[in-house]
């Protein structure tokens, strides 16, 4: 999908108006941002906003995440294990140390 994020009041108002008049193209509205359908109309709306408001409009292309295809198994396992931890106050770094789970630093340095 196309993620449109606005950074000024004028751009935010334009985005709101565009979303109102093109509901079918808007997958999700998130305050000053919106996810537009990945159609040429979605792109047209995003580019119009960028044309009008320049750097106050950021456009990114997003893709759904399939964790079973895109995320290494040990990362999935670590997330599941951490959310099932006994003590809610344990930070992840502490939780992972001495286990087979990757450290926060190791996670940070690995590209997805």
């Amino acid at each position: 999908m196309l993620l449109v994020v606005t950074y000024s009041r004028e751009a935010r108002t334009s985005l709101r108006n565009a979303c109102r008049s093109h509901e079918a193209t808007v997958a999700r509205r998130l305050g000053r941002a919106a996810l537009l359908e990945e159609t040429c109309l979605g792109a047209f709306l995003a580019l119009r906003l960028r044309e009008k408001h320049g750097g106050d409009v950021q456009v990114e292309r997003t893709a759904p995440l399939n964790e079973y295809a895109d995320v290494p198994a040990d990362v999935r396992a670590a997330a599941a294990a951490y959310e099932a931890r006994d003590a809610p106050s344990t930070p992840y770094g502490k939780f992972a140390s001495g286990t087979e789970h990757p450290s926060p630093a190791a996670l940070r340095d690995r590209e997805l």
Partner: protein, 285 residues
């Protein structure tokens, strides 16, 4: 106040221009102007806060009651409790600078480099096939081989170019992300300013509301003030007249609703300098 129109000079706290050929809009302009406007000159103290919101009471005034009441309060020298915070926020906003983020040229360069690379890689594949076919047929492939070598060389160049363009775009994206943080902070400041402005309007309007309710009863026309600015019901022109009555404008308010017999009565009932003007509906075609 001294008004000069059609060669006549009129003075007083209330001036009646209903028999003159001047439309009310011209009189309003003349109130704001230093010199004459279309033959009308209004000499008075300069317009203050009330006039920013309500300089003209017309049959269907398009003013927000809350904003007009806040302006009335300011015309009396009242200050909202939010004022200091508002001044601070406005100053911060004025001083806030945002770096530019325009990566369109880099995005185009990256896209073009990618396109060239794709074209060349198709050409290389095609030439490889041709060379192989020629060899298998036992024919002279030397010319095709030379073309292939040239294409491979060009492809490698294009690839280098594309990688460089992508790296450059990536590093600029990181810088753009910082620039966007600055824009996000500016947006937060803009929101803070407008929230404070709204809160200040609300504070000031509420402070005057009891007086406004009494003023609605004291000016001619239908209207029921209710308990808060959102609750007013009735003729909006009556509300506008009541706002003028609670305000202390130094410059005259132009009144083009037909509610007063004469200018002196209008000035007295509205407790303000007033110019009565023709109703806009009576304007000459």
């Amino acid at each position: 106040m001294r008004v000069v129109v059609d060669g006549r000079t009129l003075t007083g706290r209330g001036v009646d221009l209903r028999d003159a050929t001047v439309p009310p809009g011209t009189v309003v302009e003349a109130v704001f102007a230093d010199g004459p406007v279309d033959g009308v000159r209004v000499r008075s103290p300069p317009p203050g806060p009330l006039h920013d919101e309500l300089a003209h009471v017309e049959p269907s005034p398009a003013v927000s009651l809350r904003g007009a009441l806040a302006a009335a309060a300011r015309s009396r020298g009242e200050r909202a409790p939010e004022r200091e915070a508002l001044v601070e926020a406005r100053t911060a906003l004025a001083a806030h600078e945002v770096p530019t983020v325009d990566l369109a040229a880099e995005r185009r360069r990256t896209a073009e480099a990618g396109g060239r690379e794709r074209e060349l890689s198709e050409r290389v594949a095609g030439l490889r096939g041709r060379v192989q076919a020629l060899r298998e047929a036992g024919l002279d492939a030397s010319e095709a081989e030379a073309e292939l070598r040239e294409a491979v060389r060009a492809l490698s160049e294009a690839e280098t170019e594309r990688v460089a363009a992508e790296q450059r775009l990536d590093s600029l994206r990181a810088a753009a992300s910082e620039a966007r943080d600055a824009r996000r902070r500016r947006l937060a400041l803009q929101d803070r300013v407008s929230n404070l402005e709204r809160a200040a309007r609300r504070s000031l309007a509420e402070r005057l509301y009891a007086e406004f309710r009494a003023a609605v009863a004291a000016v001619p026309g239908e209207g029921d003030a209710g308990g808060a600015p959102g609750e007013y019901e009735g003729d909006p022109a009556t509300a506008a007249l009541a706002v003028v009555r609670v305000a202390s404008p130094a410059a005259p308010v132009v009144v083009s609703v037909d509610r007063f017999d004469d200018a002196a009565t209008a000035a007295r009932r509205l407790d303000a300098p007033v110019v009565l003007a023709r109703s806009p509906a009576d304007a000459t075609p």
